[in-house]
Symmetry: C2
Subunit: 406 residues, 2 copies
């Protein structure tokens, strides 16, 4: 039995259930004979490089439960791609604190980091167990059926569109709502989960798995508006042209206007934390279909990953469980490293179980929505609904009056 301390870090964009996984790790690790001290690193690999560690073994149960229900990384998060030198510094910290168990909560970049740490620790002759605990509202990790964090974000988006559709019935017009998801449409697709029929919005759903054609978009909006006198549209922030270039960038180049928003250090255009895409699309609709139309755009922004008061109970329970499962796998005999994944079980009632998949099967690449969930140029299929609904904990349909005519 490999004996030593354990450390956990949290990485990337937060979710509302990321601390469930942290608490699952703590609960299981304090019980594990192989683990001497249950540590955490502030701001992920940054804390591990700098030796900024905290002892999590003495946290009272009521604090743990309250923290589990608190959104965003309780230890602080980080966006940092580790290089060889970084990992060398991390291994120094591991040696200094006798850390033999490394856990890292995050998306595919985080899995890659865990993979690099495992390799470098081996090179430096420091025996370790390295496990990735999945987390992303984008739901774009490979292998796993779905990702902890997605169910709650999907629930928020489904509810948001239900309310917005009712608002749009009350005061009619064209309403565009921009959802997160740069590469994959999972979260935008969740906008449809509260729909009962074709009259319920969103009436149009544009996903990054498809090429976004502004002409077709305008024609689609006009068709729905002619039919219903109103139109609610879900748009992924990642919509792009046939060459994969973001719509906002293409639009700015064509119109000769300054690029709305900023670029990040990788030269990617900023998509989150700005209303630029929604406002640009709203302007396009007014230009194309008439300035007298009432056109509004909202960008759901960080609320999708941080709103604390509408969490999926299924998601919360699974997020807790992947944290526990990572510790069990690490102290078990079967795996020296891996990523925890979820498998959906057969049967009428939704249920899932965890399993371990090699780090390199999850690292680097992401998973788009499959063809079976995509309906033509826009929209989703009933198969997507069957897949996603249980993860949200259930979305109750809105209700209408019978309204007998007088």
């Amino acid at each position: 039995m490999l004996k030593g301390s354990a450390v956990i870090g949290q990485s990337g964009g937060p979710t509302v259930v990321i601390n469930q996984s942290l608490v699952g790790y703590i609960e299981e690790a304090v019980e594990a004979e192989a683990i001497d001290r249950v540590l955490g690193a502030r701001h992920g690999v940054q804390g591990m490089m700098e030796g900024d560690l905290v002892d999590l073994g003495g946290e009272p149960a009521d604090v743990l439960e309250a923290v589990a229900a608190t959104p965003a990384a309780a230890l602080g998060s980080v966006r940092h791609k580790v290089a060889g030198d970084d990992v060398a510094r991390m291994v120094e910290t591991f040696r200094a604190h006798e850390i033999r168990y490394f856990f890292y909560v995050g998306g595919n970049d985080t899995a890659e980091t865990a993979h690099i740490v495992e390799q470098q620790a081996g090179v430096q002759n420091w025996e370790m167990r390295c496990f990735h605990i999945p987390k992303t509202i984008d739901n774009d990790l490979r292998v796993t059926d779905h990702c902890p964090g997605y169910g709650s974000a999907a629930r928020f988006v489904a509810h948001a569109f239900q309310g917005d559709d009712r608002d749009n019935r009350s005061l009619r017009g064209i309403k565009l709502n921009v959802c997160m998801g740069r590469h994959a449409g999972w979260l935008t697709a969740a906008s449809t989960l509260g729909r009962r029929d074709d009259e319920d919005g969103p009436h149009l759903v544009y996903l990054p798995e498809k090429v976004f054609d502004p002409e077709a978009f305008l024609a689609d909006v006009a068709e729905v508006h002619d039919r219903l006198g109103r139109c609610v549209v879900a748009v992924s922030e990642g919509i792009h042209d046939a060459d994969g270039r973001p719509f906002l960038q293409v639009y700015a180049e064509r119109s000769g206007s300054a690029l709305a928003g900023e670029e990040d250090s990788h030269g990617n255009i900023q998509l989150s934390g700005t209303g630029a895409l929604g406002d640009t699309l709203a302007g396009l609709v007014k230009e194309g279909l008439g300035p007298e139309l009432r056109v509004r755009a909202d960008t759901y922004g960080y609320l999708q990953r941080s709103f604390p008061a509408d969490v999926s109970s299924v998601d919360a329970a699974e997020a807790r469980e992947v944290g526990r499962a990572a510790v069990r796998a690490a102290i078990g005999d079967e795996h020296a490293s891996g990523s925890i994944a979820l498998r959906r079980l057969e049967g009428e009632e939704y249920a899932s179980e965890t399993f371990v998949t090699p780090l390199d099967t999850v690292a680097k690449h992401t998973k788009d929505m499959p063809e079976e969930f995509l309906a033509g140029d826009q929209g989703v299929t009933p198969a997507f609904r069957d897949y996603a609904m249980p993860l949200t904990g259930g979305i109750r349909p809105m209700a209408d009056l019978d309204m007998a005519p007088v």
Copy 2:
């Protein structure tokens, strides 16, 4: 006893509990001896002008409960200022259907409409009872202690800022969130209700009751960022200069740039349904404090008035009760017309009761936040917290780990 039919309409921007008031009206009206038929008008005064009425007397109880929990106007809403001709057409409809009881759910413009209807019906010798049922997330009606719709919107905003503050702790930077409220800061002020101490965001709160000074704003943000390494800011969409001109308009004129957003038919700049204000302020912070800062802006938009999954139970109950109280007042002997208001009762536990106030005390003018709730150039006082907290149904503080240093 004045016998006849009753009609109700819903007006202006929706709330998540506006249908509670509708259902309260139906429940009380179907029991009232004086009321023959319980009717509703589609899209408020528009339906009354056009005779587009529905019979609400036969709606099953389970439908009513489901509709009460559904956001936005179930009968459809309208933004229309009635003129003399409009009211003449409405009175024709009232005569045709023997309508003697008129109820109108909305804000101060709606109260004014009820007042005009009462006067014109009198001129045309059609005896009627005219009652206004209060509703607005802006909480800006006079006389009443607070407005149905506000508690739920305040709850949403408080929770949104709690989650966003946790997000901002995880990945530090400067985060601006724009809240609704063109003239009054009540909803923006609710951003503070989940705060435990000075480290919790929002750290800065800009309300339309005060003059917005961009220089002071930048200095405030810099001070908080220096102190905490991060900063969360709540901004009302209604921030303006000393002459009352919206910030966005002043900024566009000074910078010579095109006015972001559009103007409405009254020449007011469009504030809702666009991210322009948040994006402009974010740009200002980057210009003023350094382009290397991580600055993001979200605009909470229509979610504040329509998100169905985080309703205040106190607000829902009060919204139901004002609908009931309006019917009781209308069939009683004391008042020929009026607006239903809420009075806060003395005592440890929060409780309220309804009373009737003359229509002209509520019509036209609105109510800003009083001085006792405003703290200097920005922010709110503990007195505001005491006032607003019970209306939300309670906001539970977020939790931190103890994090014993290693």
